[in-house]
């Protein structure tokens, strides 16, 4: 069992070019903030390091932080520009029984995060879901398609907070 401080220490010693910030001020779960273009490298290290050995990605969840500026579009609908999206990675080491939460933030207008499918296969569908429902693009993902929504869904990404229902889908009225 390694504590968060020890894990941060090991990461800092071995990956000096990655800027990490450990946060423990938010309630219940402390996390490490990692730049979105370094997450795959950090995850690979966390998995293969013999002291840490995070062999399992328990959960991957994307969140629309909705902290940008609200503006009106041409139709008068309220939309958001700027702000961030986050991806949370819950890791666990079955061998050492320790857990870790990583967080990545990315631009809300053009969210791009490096994929971790090469590290853990379980990330595959989780990342597809994040792409489907939030529009986060995962670099180097082998098969980034929609998963829960229809493949021909062209009205954006439903779990974004400013998502608007389309009026018609394939000739059917949507708010019935």
């Amino acid at each position: 069992m390694k504590s968060l401080e020890e894990i941060v220490e090991i990461l800092k010693n071995n990956l000096p070019d990655v800027v990490l910030e450990a946060h423990s001020e938010i309630k219940f779960e402390p996390f490490i903030l990692i730049p979105s273009d370094k997450i795959d490298k950090v995850c690979l290290f966390l998995r293969d390091n013999p002291e840490l050995y995070f062999d399992s990605l328990v959960n991957l969840s994307a969140v629309d932080d909705f902290n940008g500026q609200k503006i009106k579009d041409e139709q008068g609908n309220e939309i958001m520009t700027g702000g961030t999206m986050s991806v949370y990675y819950h890791l666990e080491s079955i061998k050492f029984r320790h857990k870790l939460l990583l967080k990545v933030t990315t631009e809300r207008d053009d969210p791009i995060v490096n994929s971790v499918v090469t590290v853990w296969n379980s990330a595959n569908w989780h990342e597809r879901e994040a792409f489907d429902l939030f529009g986060i693009k995962f670099n180097n993902h082998p098969d980034l398609r929609r998963i829960l929504m229809p493949y021909d869904w062209e009205f954006g990404h439903p779990l974004r907070k400013d998502y608007q229902n389309p009026e018609f889908y394939q000739g059917m009225k949507v708010p019935y």
Binding site: K27, F28, S56, L57, W120, N121, S122, N124, W125
Partner: protein, 371 residues
């Protein structure tokens, strides 16, 4: 002269009796050998996570029932534990005991469906009827407790909607006494049936490293030989007070982690659940089950990932609270969703008929896959 051969693409589903719901598997075949499986999901997508963002915390509970509709008690249990951790409230002992009894009864009911339908998929229809006969009795127990047979809305934040029915303990004891011989009967009928073993042993072998890398949990992971059960390894509620074993696959009929092992782990787990229920019924304390239900549910700002061992694996809720009465974001880590990813890995190189045997042993519930 050589014969030209071509790969063929075959659709299995979305309406197919052995896909247990609306799942479409796109099979690429070389003769009758499978070279690739692509699952297409989402036919049952009901925007659960989007709904959560506009509802208050207690209003979400009935929606959680409808994810894994064969294990609704487990879903409520997991969600309620997560919210209670956010709120920082302690619930009375009696509530915890009743929750554990319900969750374990639900586990037996869910495994009975898994086993029964698995037999039916493979061609043994009689065990299906035997399993549903026993499951019916568990549903009757739920019915006298809260009025509903499948979707309960029974476990509430901080308590329960009703206390136990006065007859509940007696009827549960009766059920356990009569169910034990039925399990033996089931083993004679299906588990050690030669045809069943031939269809499932050495089919769809899942090595442990692959299972961990794919995030597989629950009976599937245990069948691959790892003793990993959240009830013991990341204990919650009052599970640490009970004495029970964690069955793992041992490759008795073939190789560790084959379909037969996955099936048999479920059979053994039912016996362990019976042990837990027996102990819980003996130890259950008195108390008021509605005393700790908070009037106003408004968790502080923060986020939490909380998980429980559902019949199909690790059910996790990641809840972000912004301090209002409804959550900012709820992400459900559904065990079936993660377990289904392995289909391609397991099926490659097998025959078409084995896809059904493998899919049945993965035991998915589409309500949970699609949410």
């Amino acid at each position: 002269m050589s014969v030209r051969t071509e790969e063929m693409v075959l659709n299995m589903g979305p309406q197919h009796p052995s896909t247990h719901g609306v799942l479409r598997l796109e099979l690429t075949l070389d003769g009758e050998i499978i070279t690739k499986v692509v699952p297409h999901i989402g036919y049952l997508h009901r925007c659960f996570e989007k709904h959560c963002e506009v509802m208050t915390y207690p209003q979400i509970i009935p929606y959680t029932d409808r994810m894994d509709y064969l294990a609704a008690m487990g879903n409520e249990f997991g969600y309620v534990i997560a919210v209670e951790k956010l709120l920082g409230i302690q619930v009375p002992e009696r509530v915890e005991y009743i929750r554990v009894i319900m969750a374990e009864l639900q586990r037996i009911a869910s495994h009975l469906v898994a086993i029964g339908t698995y037999g039916a998929d493979i061609g043994a229809f009689t065990p299906f009827l035997y399993c549903f006969r026993d499951r019916e009795r568990i549903l009757n127990l739920f019915e006298i407790t809260c009025g509903a047979r499948l979707l309960y809305n029974y476990i509430w934040i901080g308590g329960l909607s009703h206390d136990l029915h006065p007859d509940f303990i007696r009827l549960t004891k009766e059920f356990i006494r009569e169910f034990k011989p039925n399990l033996k009967e089931l083993n004679n009928l299906l588990t050690f049936n030669k045809i069943f073993i031939d269809r499932t042993a050495n089919v769809g072998i899942l090595p442990l490293e692959t299972a961990i890398n794919f995030g597989i949990t629950g009976p599937m992971l245990r069948a691959s030989g790892l003793k990993w059960d959240l009830r013991k390894d990341d204990t919650y509620s009052v599970y640490n007070k009970f004495d029970f074993n964690i069955p793992v696959g041992d490759g008795r009929m073939g190789t560790v982690g084959d379909s037969w092992d996955r099936y048999f782990v479920r059979v053994l787990e039912m016996e362990e659940s019976l042990k837990i229920i027996e102990q819980a019924i003996e130890q259950i304390p008195d108390g008021d089950v509605t005393a700790a239900i908070p009037k106003r549910i408004k968790p502080p700002v923060g986020h939490i990932y909380s998980r429980v061992e559902n019949p199909r694996g690790e059910l996790g809720y990641f809840i972000i609270s912004d301090g209002s009465t409804s959550p900012f974001r709820v992400k459900v880590r559904a065990p079936s969703f993660v377990n289904l990813q392995i289909m391609d890995e397991l099926c490659r190189g097998h025959l078409v008929a084995d896809v059904i045997a493998i899919l049945g042993s993965v035991d998915i519930v589409l309500g949970e896959v699609d949410r």
